[in-house]
Structure formats: C-alpha cells, structure tokens
Symmetry: C2
Subunit: 601 residues, 2 copies
C-alpha cells in the first residue's frame, strides 16, 4: 500500500538530488553518515510512525486527554508509541555522540519529524516540545542544569515544555507578568499564570521540565526585563532522584479544534509558597535565549504545516485514483462506465495545486533545514554569516507560507473526497483541523509579516535580501541555460525584480519615519515574498527534474520528473502571477485597512 504519511520518492529527490544532503557529510560533524545510514534512519522512523503512531491518530482525536482525580488521563497508545520513539533514540538523534545522539544532519531530523507529525501530530507534540526544551538548556544552561534537567529528557524519563504565553499578554510577550523572587541557594520562587502550554501536564514521564519566562522583581519593563527559568514539576535532588512536588498546578485543560491528542494546559505557578525555579543564563536575557531557538522552532512549525498538508494530499490522491464517479464532459453516455475521479480536470486541478503547495513547501522547509546544517559545516565565517542571514530572512516564510498553502491543500483534500471528506471516516478533515493551528502558534501570520518586513528585510541595510537575491540570480542563470526551464527562469527574474522594486518603495517610506504606513500592508508583503521564494524553490526542483528527465531510464522515473515539471508549471502559471496585484497594493501604499475605523465596523 502506498504510504499516506510520506512520499519517499519525493523526499529522496529533495534530500539527495536537489539539496545535496551527502555534501554535508564532507564535514567532520556529519562524516560518519552516508546514504545507507541516513536511509536506514528514515526507514526506521517511517516504520515506527506507521506501526505505532498512525494507528491511534484518529483515536486520540476522538478521545481527548481528560483531567480526572488530579491527573491527566489519556489513551495508553500514546505512551506505547513514545516508548518506541525514545527506544529508537529519535529524541537524542540530532545531538552529539557523547549525549547518546547520532549527530544527524538537521535536514534528516526535519524529514523524520515530518514523518512522525504526518502520522500523528497529537502524540508527536510531546517529544517535540521536549526537543525544543533540550536545545535551550543545552545552549544556555549550566552543566548541572544539563545533567539534572536536560539529559533525562534525551531518553524520555523526563519531558519538557515551553511556558511563554500568559492570558493577558498573548503574542505581546513584553507584557508577561509572572514574577520571580530570589529564594534559597540561588533559586527563585515563581508566581503567575501561563496558558496554552502544550504537553503542560501528563503522566507520560517521571517529571516535566517547564521553561518559563518570568520577570525578576525590579527588572526593567518590557522585553528587556524578561528572564528564563527552569521550573520542574517535581524538584530534583543533587543525585538526580525526584524530590517534592513543586508548586505548579494544572488549572485546566483547553479543548481545541485539532491537535486534540496533545494536552493544552493552563498552569498556575506559585499559588502556595511559590514555584521553585532556576535561572537559565543571565537575568533579563530570557527572550533573547528563546529567540535564538525560535528559528528552529518556526521551521518546525513550517515542517508540521507542510506534512499535514502533504498527508492530506496523499490521502486525496489515493482516493481520486480509486473512486469511480461521473464521466468526462465529452462523453455523458450513462451506459458507459464511470471513470475514476482523477480523470476529471477539476479534480486534477485540485490535486495539482496541492502538489505544487506541499512539494514546494517540503522543499522550502528542507532548504531551511540545510541552512541550519550549514551553520555547522560552513567553511568560512563569511559562508556561515550568509547562511545565518538567509535563515533569518527565510524563517518567517518557512513558518507562514506552508501554514497558508499546505493548509489549503488540506481543504482541497476535503473537497476531492466530497461528502466523504467531510466525515470523520477519512483522515482529511482531521488533518485540516490539526493544521489550522499553524498560522497561529509560534508567532501568528501577522507577527511573521511584521518580522519579515519590519526587521529581516531591513536589517544590516538589507543584506539578507541581497544575499537571497544573489542566490536566486544563480538559479535563474542556471535555469535560463536549460531547455524547458527557460521560461520559468525568466518569470522568476521578473518577479524578483518586481519584489525588489516594491521593497525599495516601502523602505524609502520607512526611512522617512512613516512606520505605520510602511508596515500597514505587511501581510501582503509576506504573501508576495513567500510566493517569490517558493517559485525559486520550484525552479531549483525543476532544474534537477529536467536533468533527471533527460537521463531517465524507467517509465516510473520519467513520470516522476514529468510530474515535478508540471507542478512547477502550475506554480509559475497559476500562482506566481498573483504577486503583481499584491505589489500594486504595496506600492500604492493602499490605506484602505489603515484608515478603517473601529466605529465604522
């Protein structure tokens, strides 16, 4: 049976052919890996995901965790699946050998995360949050903090959370109010309320390590007064054994549209004597620590959005190939057999649009993951700096583009299945509901648009965009030399030039200090920029596919490369031209939204 959680042919194409994964193994850090070892890790992930994660995905959606007698209860399949995940070493895999890891390239970790997420986003969220937590402690914690709070997470004995959001602050982190008061032996006592804390309580691990943003009494207002603390559910003794229950209480579970297998919690810190917390790094630098992890977290969201959409597409494709219904418009003879719906042009349209979104999105996410790898493997400081800047400017795109377009693939998957797609008998509606979170968490779409235009595009006098434009120009030059690709290359060149012009117009206004006008239509800028970037990503795929087609030795290969080229064609003909309208709104400094008034609604 064809997998509905991953398309390994496409994944291989992207990892090995388009983005040269093996090129990374020239670097010492990844030198032990080759295609065989990497394939084996991905195979194992797919097998565990299909055997232990996928089968209970619908079940944990229907039967959410409950809060009963002071404990969170959930289906036993979750714990069982996670045992397989941890036993195969997937949480530690990205880390160094001396931490029990495999020193896996981030590209491969990203692909694996995608496979598990596509299988069961609810169950997968528990280890993924631990993974993010581990990265923070690893980068900014003391040796003792690593020993006591990070290492037990690598094997699943402990799990972790990221406790940022508060009810009154939401996305506005400068307004968080949780306070920390110096206590015994260098520890702090924390007090405050957090909301939307995923995996914030459960019985899946011996302990839960919360990473909590809080304000040390007397700290400056705003983002410059926020510190980061480790606050464990159970205190941990010097020797690593568990001590008393800490003053962290589950105030309630939040019930959501999707992601229903993951507990989303309201947590009260310090309702009694104050929750014991340990400062990570220096006071008042908590947000900068968090944000140094944010690129990877946001790429993680992008990958999640991609694979949920991708799985929707794979399900719709399987259905469309199998479901007979109706006849072509030129043959309405009711005595003729019905055709499979994949033969209807409008169904092809929906599937081809989806293909262009999800394969474009996956390529984008893997390219970003490669940039993360390049931070490790760069041959020079300049190369490293360039990768860093590319990652900075692409992060809001990776976070937000798939959250719109791969979510659209989920909606199209429902549409392809018709009435059946709207039922809970098929997974497509669940995948849609799960994916609808992605335009919201880890910085909403609006916040990404402000980050892109207000910060990333303008920083260092536009250096990040300049480097991106250079890389795009290289691809364009390569594409222009290739038969069958030239038209795409020319179209991308025009799009780049258009977006550069728009950007100059906008930043000139920013230079005049008209910040509100500069940023007024930032959502449109994000849209335009995203389509330009994904067109570039598609051109890279098309160049490789065109070469592959010329050398293809099997019908299967030929069909695969033809499909890539047709999806690229779809993106260039149906999607890319939409940026013209967006650029016009931006260049006109359209004030329709800016000037709308509350009382007019």
């Amino acid at each position: 049976m064809t997998s509905t959680i991953t398309n390994r042919r496409d994944l291989d194409f992207l990892l090995y052919d388009v983005f040269d994964l093996l090129g990374l193994t020239a670097h010492g850090h990844y030198a032990d890996h080759d295609k065989e070892t990497l394939d084996a890790v991905i195979d194992t992930a797919q097998k565990i995901a299909e055997d232990h994660f996928l089968p209970h995905a619908a079940l944990v959606d229907e039967e959410e965790p409950t809060f009963l007698n002071g404990k969170v209860e959930m289906r036993p399949e979750v714990k069982e699946a996670l045992t397989h995940y941890y036993e195969a070493g997937f949480l530690a895999a990205p880390h160094e050998y001396d931490l029990g890891g495999m020193q896996l390239p981030h590209m491969v970790s990203t692909a694996i995360k995608g496979i598990f997420t596509a299988a069961n986003v609810g169950t997968t969220a528990y280890p993924f949050l631990s993974g993010a937590n581990v990265n923070v402690i690893k980068n900014f914690g003391t040796e003792e903090q690593k020993r006591l709070f990070m290492e037990p997470q690598l094997t699943g004995r402990y799990m972790g959370t990221m406790a940022l959001t508060e009810p009154q602050a939401g996305s506005s982190l400068s307004d968080i109010k949780t306070t920390a008061t110096p206590g015994d032996a260098g520890s702090y006592r924390l007090s405050g309320n957090k909301i939307f804390i995923s995996a914030g309580d459960h019985e899946l691990s011996e302990n839960i390590v919360h990473l909590v943003l809080a304000r040390i009494k007397g700290a400056p207002p705003g983002v410059k007064g926020i510190s980061l603390f480790i606050v464990p559910k159970y205190l941990v003794n010097e020797d690593g054994t568990l001590g008393e229950r800490n003053d962290v209480q589950l105030a309630g579970l939040i019930h959501k549209m999707g992601y229903r297998g993951t507990t989303s919690t309201m947590l009260n810190f310090g309702e009694k004597e104050g929750a014991v917390g340990y400062l990570v790094g220096e006071p008042n630098k908590g947000l900068s620590y968090m944000f140094q992890m944010m690129n990877e977290a946001r790429i993680g969201v992008g990958v999640g959005a991609v694979v949920l959409g991708y799985s929707g597409y794979l399900n719709a494709l399987a259905y469309a190939k199998d479901r007979p219904q109706g006849r072509p418009p030129q043959n309405k003879d009711p005595k003729a057999a019905q055709v499979h719906i994949i033969e209807h042009t409008d169904v092809k349209r929906m599937l081809l649009a989806s293909k262009s979104y999800v394969e474009g999105g996956l390529a984008l996410a893997l390219y970003a993951a490669r940039l993360v790898d390049q931070l490790k493997t760069a041959a020079s400081d300049t190369e490293k700096e360039e990768s860093r800047l590319l990652l900075e400017i692409l992060t809001p795109i990776v976070k937000s583009w798939p959250a719109v377009y791969c979510l659209e693939a989920n909606s199209l998957a429902i549409q392809v299945l018709g009435g059946y797609g709207y039922t809970r008998e098929y997974p497509v509606e669940r995948l849609y509901r799960d994916n609808r979170l992605n335009p919201i968490h880890e910085g909403t779409h609006g916040i990404q648009s402000m980050d892109l235009l207000g910060r990333k595009v303008t920083m260092q006098n536009g250096k990040a965009f300049k480097i991106l434009a250079e890389r795009m120009a290289e691809t364009i030059a390569a594409g222009k030399d290739q038969t069958g690709i030239k038209d795409f290359a020319i179209a991308l060149e025009a799009a780049l030039s258009q977006v550069e012009q728009t950007t100059r117009t906008l930043t000139a206004e920013a230079a005049k200090g008209n910040i509100d006008l500069f940023l007024a239509n930032s959502a449109v800028y994000l849209e335009v920029f995203g389509h330009m970037v994904v067109a570039w990503i598609w051109l890279q795929q098309a160049i490789t596919a065109q070469r592959g087609l010329e050398q293809a030795s099997s019908e299967e290969d030929t069909a695969f490369f033809q499909g890539k080229l047709q999806a690229c064609r779809y993106f260039f003909r149906w999607e890319l031209p939409k940026i013209a309208h967006g650029c016009r709104i931006l260049e006109d400094f359209d004030r329709t939204c800016l000037e709308m008034r509350e009382e007019w609604f």
Copy 2:
C-alpha cells in the same frame, strides 16, 4: 449585548434601502405586509433563535446524536427549540394563508432562515429539510399526497428529507440504482441504499417523509429514467393516522466535521419486503422536479454559508473591540497601556476583508431571494422571464461564492482570536467547521462551475448573461453620476467588459466542439464571474450608502455608511483586480491541469 447572529442594521439596510422589500408589497400576494409586520416577524425569529437555538449550539456539537437500541437519541434542547419554531409558524410562514402560512416574501424567509442558521445550524437543519420537502410535494404532488404527507409537515407533526445520494453515485445522479417495482393500489416497492441523508432518522416528529429518487424497473438509463417517490417511515392511513412501520432502516449515523447536531444517515430501503413508496408526478421526471426546487435549495446553501461566516465575523469583531494586546508599531513603549487589537492594521485588514465578504454575500443572497419573489410579482411575462433567467445564471454564484469567501471569513475570525480562536471555548472554530460543508453539498464547487459555464452562460444564446450585463450597466451608469462612487463604477465597467471578452473567447471554443478545453478551467471562470457579480452587488450598496451618508443625521448613521463605503473600497481595490489573472488563464486556454496525467502525480 450586540447580537452575534445577526446585524439588524445591515439587514434593514439591505432589505429596505438597497433591495426595496416594500416594493414587493404592491403585489396582491404580499399586499397585507408592511414594514411593521415584517419587522415583527424578523424580531420574533431573532428572539426565538437567541433564546432557544443559540444556547445549545455548542452542546449539540459536542454531544452528537447517537444510535441506541434502534433509536436516534439526542439532546432534549433540540425538540424544545423546534417546538418554539413551529409554534411561531415559521415552517408554514412562506406559504399561503389557507395552508396556515403568512405569505411572507422570500426575501424575508431567507433573512429568517439566516438568523436561525447562524444561531444553530445543527438544529435548524431539521425544519429546513422539511421545508424543501414541502415545496416539492406542494408543486408536484397530488391533493391526497399533500393532505397526507405535506400538511403534517407544516406544523412539525411530520418532518421530511431529500434522499438523493447513493454510495456508488455521489454527485453523479445518473448512476443511482435504487429500484422501484409497481406494487399494490398504485404504490411501488423501493429497494436500495441512500447515504448522507440529513435528518434521515430521529424521534423529533411522529413520522418522517422521505423524498426518494429511484428508477422504475425498465426505465431508460441515466437521468432520463429517474422517478421521485414519497416513502414515509411509517405508512399513513387514509384518515391520516399512522399505520405500520415501512421497510426503511437506519443503517448507521455518519459522523462529520461539523453540522454535528444534525443526524446524517445511511438508509436502507427495502431490505425485507420492499419499502412502500408513492410516485410523485409522472414517471422518469423525478430529477426535473428536484431541479425545479434546486434554485431555492442552492440559494439556501448560499444563505447558510453567508450567515455562518457573518456570525464568525460578528464574534471576531466583538472580541477585537474588547481584547487589549500589544501596541502600535510607532509606539512600542512597554509602559504604555496595551491597545485593543482592533487598532492593529492587520486586524483591521482581516475584519474589513470579512466585512466585504459577509455583507457582500448577504446582499447577494437577498438579491437572489428577491428574484424568487419577482417570479410571483412580475407585472409581465417578459419581466418574469428576465427574473427567471437572472436567477438561473446567479444561482451557481449564490451557491458557491459565499461557500468560499464567507468560509474564509470564518477562518479569519479564528485568526483574529488567535490561540483562543482555535479553542472550543469560542464559537468561531465551530462555525468554521459547520461552514466547511457548504462548498460540498447541493452540488460541489466543481459542479457549480460546470453548471455556470457549461449551461447557464450559454443557454438561449447567452440571454441570461445579456440580461445580467444590462442590469449591471444600469448600476454602473447610476454610479458614474455619483461623487465618491464613480471610480468603482468605472472599475466594474472594465471588469464586466473583461469577463464578456473572456466569455466570448471560451464560447467560441465550445462552438468548435472542443468541450473539454472549453470547460477545463471552469473553476476559474466561476471565481472570476463571482467576483464580478459581488462587485456589482457592492456597487449597489455603495450607491445607497453614499446617498445615505449625504443625508445622515446621526453619528451612528454616518459611521454605518462610511463602513459600507470602506468595505466596498476594500472589495474594489483588494479583491476585484484578482480577476485579471483568472481571465488570462481562461483566455490562454491554459492546459496545465487538463494535460496533467494520473501517473505523473
């Protein structure tokens, strides 16, 4: 508290000011009504909807009907709400006085349906399906059929369904297989399986009257061999008392993404001795009877899509006015108070886009409802024929445009509420889930696009489009004379001309017999045509609003009219220009989707 199910200010504006509801009362059929009586009916509907439908909307979403001990069980609030609905006479209201009705204009019935649907789509579906059933029997049934099966539905003693879809046929009605064999006393025995039959079983009424499409043995293949039957759950004696249980069995309930309060059923007819059914009208004309009701049913879907989106918007608006978070980009001082999120330009964008969709959608639906009324009130056959043709060509737009754009308003409402919007604490995610059905049922989006381009635009040598273009030209001429409106009128004139040109190009290909190429991108045509129509509907609103603004005597009125004009501006600047890209794809006869092959996916 502001209502979250209806905006009466807008409804009044559309009914009375833009579409001249009272003009209809010049006609005898509606002559007893005036503004006072009509307002009173709408007030009553709103009160019953808010008091008895809205409070249990979330409850029936969480606790779906179950199939227990051979019976469908559901929350008692459903029956209680329906008792109020029937006691107030809402099911009979559109009908003649001698049927216990109020001879309500269809515009008002439509508005009322919208109010109930916005309050609780799950509960509302039961009487609405009965309403459709009643219309069919009223138009095509015998006097006895009306007495036995229609009249008890007017008071809620019986309810009804429309049983069209079969598992193997789906949208392809020509492939339905349920058979009817002549039986005793002019009756038939039916045998076959139906799926997705809403309200197909329940204990809300004494009896359930199924209207079933089936094939009389020996009938021609395809749509020309389909007949329509009344098949009651319980047989009915001559005197109207209930007889034996008919051979109709509930095979199972279908669990859906939304609309969870409405039973969606699989029904088996004739598993034992055959289900007793009564032919409606003549043999083999069943589909044409159904389709004569389809315009109203499809307008009904459009209204449903509008009001679910509208309610999402009203909820988002209330939240945005109340929720403090963040600060404007030009003032990031963390010591300053947070502003309400409605002050952020990107939130205004989401709300303004939603406003343009839902108010545009409501106006479109009410305009279509007025055309239904005009079939009754037309002063001449020509006028009646023009209304009929306008209704024909606009029906696919009314069915499908709100199902895309008002659904988008639901998604934007989730986004405005952010993390909260994704929870089941607020209704916005439920409204989204409910609305996601509307692009599917009563003819999918793809089917609407084929209906529009393949049938409605070409029928009678394009007469329907010609009449529509004339009406649009009248509005354009009026708009050109008005300060503040002129630019919109000019833009619409250009859009109309562009769509006319595209249509000529397409139909020329159809004339050559290249039907597959002609219809290949029909979904794009539907999109383009829909935006053109809604722009016209917005221009009509803007003309009235501009006049209103010039005469406004209160701040509240001024704000209302300014809001209308700004939403119109949004639609003309941000939305209408998108049709240029669609027209290019169409005029190029883009073959990207048509030429995609199954093996390339």
